[in-house]
Symmetry: C2
Subunit: 238 residues, 2 copies
């Protein structure tokens, strides 16, 4: 009983816990339904504070946040996207190219603002705690910041879309990003008229959601077992 | 007024929104205070469901979840950690090595279970939507799944620690992970007797938290401006 009481005291209350799952399950990669209304500085500051409280390897905090509002610059980024999309198209299986062409994949000019979240690779120079074996850990930390931002944004009713179809070198040139800094995520951020009930790519038939129980392995890769957990996972996803 | 009403209807209520920030601000990279009590399958299933609802490039869902409970296997992973730490130590600045040696950096054997979250690079083979220019996007999606898992765990009162001081090839061999799959995160997961008020590395003087306002840039890298946002960020960080 002591152990149970102890566990309970660190867990959130039911209502708070449900709020976390609500943010996680209703977060969307938003490409349409953006509204032009500006985002309050106080709200954007909260989202950036959430990002800044992401875990980071060696407490490196390798991120910077470039806020992009200028329409001409955004149009230039959209041009990079259009070029990149035309370069990516031939690598998509032929029978899926018609669907690919129809997908809406960015809201660069329609959203309230764009945000480029970068990773400064030099910030732990001299003492790379946790990065000697995997130098990519600083990039991973930056991705955790992106996800914190995204979930906080959902709670604030703000849509976020990650535009990955961009040539990184061209983007770096456009935003004056130095060599030692990586633009990890280019985000479209703004109020939206709706959050879709399901991911766009699921609704439009690009790919189905995989059954979670098929993704669980026991002890080793492809190891069988964890039947009770898999059953609970099937029920939980339901 | 219509716009305001519209914004409000997609935002969470104050109490729910505060719960999101509470999870984000009180989440810790846990290396100590783990308790041996098992995690209920229903709870672990909820955490994995949260991970599975992360954003993924091209709705690729590239992740798998290897649940590791066997003590002998965990001891073997800890041996990999000890070797890796001794390899990393000489690359840390000499004046910081004494502190580095004292840091507790893993809870592999003490936590209820370990979880390796992997990325299957082949899952979107044939139609790499969003990955032609940045093939790393599938790894980034997997990191988003890690962060979802981490935040949901905090809400459930479960501690999570990411062990990055490991040789990936040795870990792959130990867990039978095939060539085309990347072990993105090795996590220690379990009930804890406490969540620290601040990150360990901050409390122990490894590094201070950076002022958020110093990390915000306007329009281009190192671009000045966004003074109102920076003031709000300073106030928000508290």
């Amino acid at each position: 009983m002591d152990a149970v009481r102890n566990h309970t005291c660190h867990a959130f209350g039911d209502f708070e816990r449900e709020a976390i799952y609500r943010a996680i399950f209703t977060r969307r990669d938003v490409r349409s339904h953006f509204q032009p209304d500006p985002i309050d500085d106080a709200v954007l500051a909260r989202l950036l504070t959430a990002a800044h409280h992401a875990p980071s390897v060696g407490f490196m905090q390798p991120w910077n946040f470039i806020v992009i509002r200028d329409q001409a610059r955004r149009e230039a980024v959209r041009d990079l996207f259009l070029t990149a999309r035309s370069q990516e198209l031939p690598h998509i299986a032929e029978e899926r190219q018609a669907l690919y062409r129809k997908l809406r994949l960015e809201g660069i000019c329609e959203s309230a603002l764009n945000l480029c979240i970068t990773c400064d690779r030099r910030r732990s120079e001299g003492s790379p705690l946790g990065r000697w074996h995997n130098p990519q850990m600083d990039i991973f930390s930056t991705v955790c910041a992106v996800q914190n931002f995204w979930l906080a944004a959902r709670a604030e009713g703000i849509g976020v879309g990650w535009v990955s179809i961009l040539d990184a070198d061209a983007l770096k040139q456009l935003l004056g990003i130095p060599d030692h800094v990586v633009p990890v995520a280019y985000l479209c951020v703004g109020h939206v008229s709706e959050f879709a009930a399901r991911p766009d790519l699921e609704r439009k038939g690009w790919a189905p959601r995989l059954p979670l129980s098929d993704l669980i392995m026991s002890e080793t890769y492809a190891g069988v077992g964890e039947d009770a957990l898999k059953a609970a996972a099937s029920a939980s996803q339901g």
